[in-house]
């Protein structure tokens, strides 16, 4: 038997595979395709203090082995979430993570205070890295000072597992990661999307209503792997890796680079069952190489 359970600095996941925020919906949209209870976790759609309509259509552009999105954190706000969505989430036996965004420190704090009361949600993923709205947190996420400030204030009111989601649009992700760790983050998740752009050469217009958007999918995997590797060598809290994971092999690469768990984002759009296939694939990989615990490959990249 192989142990896939992961203790993420106190947050227990039955296995290391989480649906990534913004691609997971609230989990229940996947009921037709998979048994959501088999997942390690679900990071639900980015939630803000107040209702947000999101950006104008079009919000999507296909790119080589990737896509740009400019959703802009469309959601009905935390109160609506608590009243209408949270009750449904309690029926699931998987780790539900609330992806939390804000435009001011006060917003983040107010949001996280409310999240702290949600019994069935043992963790928030603090999104300081959404590139698609002016107030999406990326302003915080791209400087050490910004990250320090948000994490510090949120830490005061949020007493459960605080995962901080980092932006890849920075010169040195290691210093940002260290700043989050220093202010009390329990874990780090990375990477959010890379800021990109698409143009329609026929209409001579940007494809997205917002001109620029967030790049995700296999195209960004090399950058994501590099950042997970760099950060895992620099901090002592666990890392949740993501960015372009499409199959088991990709997932294993992230574990070797130092991720204790992974998130599946864009790949769900290509195959809504891929998360379960990857869980099974990880088990097969571990068996094939005679491991008994997923822990045995985490960070075990051989570099000599």
């Amino acid at each position: 038997m192989v142990n896939l359970a992961i203790n993420l600095n106190g947050l227990i996941l039955k296995n290391p595979v989480i649906l990534a925020s913004g691609t997971a919906g609230y989990g229940y949209e996947y009921d037709d395709f998979i048994d959501v209870n088999q997942l390690g976790g679900v990071s639900v759609k980015g939630t803000t203090l107040h209702n947000r309509a999101g950006n104008a259509y079009p919000r999507m552009a296909e790119t080589p082995k990737g896509m740009l999105n400019a959703v802009g954190l469309q959601n009905k706000g935390i109160d609506y979430f608590i009243e209408n969505i949270y009750p449904r989430l309690q029926e699931y036996d998987t780790t539900m993570i609330l992806n939390a965004s804000g435009s001011t420190i006060d917003d983040y704090v107010a949001l996280c205070e409310k999240a702290n009361e949600l019994e069935h949600i043992p963790a928030i993923e603090l999104n300081v890295s959404c590139p698609n709205v002016k107030e999406g947190g990326m302003a915080f996420g791209v400087s050490c000072a910004g990250v320090s400030e948000v994490v510090k204030e949120v830490r005061k009111v949020y007493h459960k597992h605080l995962m901080v989601k980092l932006s890849p649009n920075v010169t040195d992700i290691v210093e940002i990661a260290k700043a989050a760790e220093a202010e009390g983050a329990d874990s780090l998740s990375l990477i959010n999307t890379l800021l990109g752009m698409a143009i329609n050469a026929e209409t001579q217009r940007p494809v997205l209503s917002t001109i620029t958007g967030g790049l995700s999918g296999p195209a960004i995997k090399p950058v994501a792997l590099r950042m997970v590797w760099q950060v895992s060598n620099a901090v002592n809290i666990p890392i949740v890796g993501m960015g372009g994971i499409m199959n088991t092999t990709d997932a294993i690469e992230f574990f070797l680079a130092g991720a204790s768990a992974i998130q599946i984002g864009t790949a769900n759009f290509i195959n809504p069952q891929v998360s379960i296939e990857i869980i099974n694939g990880i088990e097969d990989y571990l068996k094939k190489y005679n491991y008994t615990d997923i822990q045995q490959i985490i960070g075990k990249l051989k570099t000599t």
């Binding site: 759609k45 999101g54 296909e62 080589p64 959703v71 469309q74 069952q273």
Partner: protein, 253 residues
Amino acid sequence: MTKTVAKLSISEHKRVNDDHFILTLKKDGVFPEIKPGQFVNVLVEDTDVFLRRPFSIHDADTKQQSFSLLIKAVGKGTKSLQSKKVGDTLDVLFPLGNGYSLQENNKVLLVGGGFGIAPLYYLAKQLKDKVEDIHLLVGARSAKHILLTEKFDGLATVHITTEDESLGEKGYVTNHSILEDDFDKIYTCGPHPMTKALALYALNREISCEVSLENMMACGYGVCLCCVAETKTHENVTTCLQGPVFNAKELQW
């Protein structure tokens, strides 16, 4: 309405004209109920295609456990599908979306533009028993761009407009004289300018009107929020899950 993702084999590949073709797909085992106006999301395994491609269900046959798609080859993905052969398999997510509502009515009008005619055939078949008098209005640049109207023989009275007057009345569907008739309901699907004009026409005349949208999609099952349309109340709703069919009066035009 349970969605599935399945590998379906192509049982028929029919050329309509140079750039239009119909693929019929068969599914073994459980076959889901399919409503007109619903669509599928197809994985195209080609170098330059990443996301799935959505297509309306053109026809469905529960007994045969099959359904068909009417596809226009416009770009990388659709051209790759055009080159597929009978016996090849496609990975398909279906059925998706809400579909048109199927009330009893006296006289209804179906309006299609471009490949927007695709869902109207299955719709007409399903309305047959419920509606006294079904009319189909289609428009195109010229006669040779008018597709498949013969399929509607016995289902609907067909009206045509062409911009060059090579068939039917001259002009756009929105000028056709049949619009002066009294209809209980209009069902439409097609490019945005056309559906918009029709929606406004219907709203103006207070005719109930259902519009199917063709917004760009990433997932097709309501999680990415990329495919949204704006409602009258300035909310963004997903066209893949809450649509693609909307009551014209609910949307912001």
